[in-house]
Symmetry: C2
Subunit: 321 residues, 2 copies
């Protein structure tokens, strides 16, 4: 019995695979390597229980033949579907990016699950499905769901398609609404952006927006821990859980100052205007993880500690490049 | 200035166009005639303010050239997007039906609105986006949204895509979550089904399920009235409204008995088992229209009266065939 992970070469995929391998699971990983990298797979490739195939799952015939190939050695009983467009701003001007990479990847994953009789699905959804609710805490039973990014819209579309599949051919579905996740291997995001900016221009850090934008951050190691906890403890047919930090988060200003301290203490921070970094970025939101806490899981690190840990890791990662 | 209606040759499209023409609007109608019919357009075709084009809007180049053609005579300022797969059970075994006809029609409508600078969108969504919430009243701010039909999933995906468009290039979007709508021209649905069954087999009426399934019904004339009311009165950037009957509805048993009385009083009604007509059919739900009532609109007919009226109309329609 094996677990298939889509988007394995991405940030979350690599961390999830490492943890599942530690638990003795057989892992098949796939990725189209458009955003994930082979370099990210270095730590996995030697492992006896790990196999990788490069495939774009929006190409259904190729997806099918990859599954057939994997199943020559082991039956797949479960899919963790992480593949998606991870470059949210790229989807703003071109809605076809998230249609293809965020939604059609899910749509095709469901088609092959039906065809091959694979019955359990875990899915990386996002807090972006909620849209902007102002000060109203984002709880799982909140509506209406009016996302403001194509990424969020196509994650919501994916949730909906999964929900329907659970009504007929899936035995269980786990929908994890991801927060801002940080850690390594960092491939994008504000911290990596700041570290790289400071390395190329050590005396000044330009920040999008006025720095007051505030978000909760969860470290990827905790994210993986939470997902596996939900996978093993939730009894619902379709389990929908917010995963996130258990606090109101930290500001961009805090992240900028912390990064400057770690990389280039003499740098001056130059802020822009407004509290949105880009169109479709939700300024401040309160992300409720009460449902997850009730199930029995709470993060060990607060947003501040997670940010401090991630910045140290990213600085190390970048110094090794 | 003209209004474009997609899915014009369907049940709701025809009724909406008639009402808008009565108000002196210039109407461009399009339909791929896969489910809508030219026959439905008979009452519209003579009108000086009406023009029709047969086009499948999932074909983007054809959609574009149709718009260009229309705009030679009049600028389109608003789109009412009604085109969708209206045969919900057809989508159960084949998720690509609703992907194409329910979602990609919306996706492409948004693409052309962006390209042609058309800024106002009214959209026929559905109560099917909610999924099965048991006895919990379906209000607009309910979640999580876990639809149980591909139709519902792709309507929800459409809502999400529209919400994102409203964040950038639309000036306003109206999302109407339709209830069970009845009236003429009837093309599908339980009443037409019963009338036709009784015409071909006057002594017996076979009913899917045990007849206890209960739903609210709204007459299409009231639906159109409600949509126009919301269009003219709601001030939100994205207006999301349930439209429906203001009661708990009527049972399938009531509909069966009423139809038998109208068509073939001597017929025996034979019920099936269970309270679901088919996989994905939500048994009983309470559909809240409190938000719409607060805006100032209430239906004139209850579900019972709407059903009585529709059955009479459908009997007449079928006797003329």
């Amino acid at each position: 019995m094996a677990i298939l992970i889509t988007g394995i070469a991405g940030f979350v995929g690599v961390n999830l695979a490492q943890e599942l391998l530690r638990h003795g699971q057989r892992i098949f990983g796939i990725d189209n390597l458009s955003r994930g990298t082979l370099e990210n797979l270095t730590g996995l490739n030697g492992h006896a229980n790990f196999a990788f195939a490069e495939v774009d799952i929006t190409n259904l015939p190729n997806f099918r033949s990859t599954i057939r190939q994997f199943e020559l050695t082991e039956n797949i009983t479960e899919i963790w579907h992480l593949a998606a467009n991870s470059d949210i701003p790229a989807g703003f001007n071109d809605s076809t990016v998230d249609l293809k990479d965020t939604f059609m990847t899910t749509f095709n994953t469901l088609l092959v699950m039906k065809e091959f009789g694979i019955k359990s699905l875990a899915f990386a959804s996002s807090s972006a499905i909620y849209g902007d609710h102002g000060d109203v805490p984002l709880v799982e039973n909140l509506g209406p769901l009016l996302p403001i990014s194509n990424y969020g819209a196509m994650k919501l579309a994916s949730e909906a398609a999964i929900s329907v599949a659970a009504e007929s051919y899936l035995s269980s579905a786990f929908i994890f609404r991801f927060p801002n996740v940080i850690g390594i291997p960092a491939t994008h995001g504000v911290m990596l952006d700041f570290v790289r900016k400071l390395k190329s221009k050590p005396r000044e850090l330009d920040v999008l927006g006025n720095g007051s934008q505030q978000k909760g951050y969860l470290h990827v190691e905790e994210l993986v821990d939470a997902m596996l906890f939900i996978r093993n403890h939730s009894q619902e047919k379709v389990s929908v859980y917010n995963i996130g930090a258990d606090d109101e988060g930290v500001t961009v200003k805090f992240i900028a100052e912390t990064t400057v301290k770690a990389v280039s203490p003499q740098a001056q921070i130059v802020y822009g205007e407004g509290n949105k970094g880009w169109v479709g970025d939700v300024p401040k939101f309160v992300y409720s993880i009460d449902k997850l806490k009730k199930l029995g899981w709470t993060p060990k690190l607060g947003s501040e500690q997670a940010v401090l840990k991630a910045i140290q890791q990213i600085v190390t990662q970048e110094s090794l490049r």
